[in-house]
Symmetry: C2
Subunit: 159 residues, 2 copies
């Protein structure tokens, strides 16, 4: 929570009651709510917030690195995969491209006991995130621009 305030200050983002409330809500819960759910919950304590502010604040928090999104970055469309062999994914956080890779070790991961209390696992796969060679190459040419505000770079959000 203090972390949150500090990061906001440093980023020049104002501390508004809405943001406080929204962050509190996301941080408080262990499930992984969507914007609509957060909206409903926050509205209980603050009936005037708009859904819009929820969206803006959430993505702001993502941009600040304070929270993350599940999966391949919420705003993406569905993507399909005909590869039914056991395999894993590398996702580029810059361009969003996804490549398969293989690893016998990863295929045979031993599941921790804690999972027993959650459910019965049918399959696991590993998702590696990083920067693909293409994007790394481009970044090397185009100077990074130290102050790059880098707002909302589509495809940049992923867990």
């Amino acid at each position: 929570m203090e972390h949150f305030q500090r990061v906001c200050r440093e980023a020049g983002a104002k501390l508004t009651p809405q943001r406080l409330e929204i962050f509190r809500e996301v941080a408080a819960t262990g499930d992984h709510p969507d914007a609509e759910t957060i909206y409903r919950r926050v509205r209980k304590r603050m009936p005037t917030v708009s859904l819009d502010t929820i969206y803006r604040t959430l993505w702001l928090l993502v941009d600040l690195g304070i929270i993350q999104t599940l999966g391949a970055g919420g705003r993406e469309r569905a993507r399909f995969d005909a590869n039914l062999d056991p395999h894993h994914h590398f996702v580029c956080v810059q361009c969003g491209s996804t490549r398969d890779f293989y690893s016998k070790d990863f295929d045979a991961l031993a599941l921790p006991d804690s999972l027993r209390e959650i459910g019965r696992v049918e399959a696991t796969h590993v998702e590696a995130r990083g920067v693909c060679l293409d994007c790394a190459g481009k970044a090397a040419k185009a100077p990074p621009g130290p102050k790059s505000k880098s707002k909302s770079n589509t495809n940049t959000r992923t867990v």
Copy 2:
């Protein structure tokens, strides 16, 4: 491809040129295209297909288990996660709920060399899919219904 035809037969789904073409397209490519992309590609060889058929066919293939979707099942909204500690996810393929779990072993996975040729990895996390205890409990009570057509069970699609 034969597998595809066999499964369709068994499921009582008709073999149409559109479906053949769409499956061929998805199976042929190593990237993980979205519906729109598949649409564009298929249209080159079959200019009359409708985007609609693409969607219907893709989800049909998913329902038949012939292909899968990336990430948390395309049709989901963005979901947010304030947990920045290294952690992993269990996703219930029935209800879509996602729970965090922890494993030192998973945090320290040794990446295969093949990844070097793809990009620089910044983080990895494991996604375990299965049926959560809640859903397993419900399924035990409600008899499974051997012929359950189980069409489009929202949240059922995930890799």
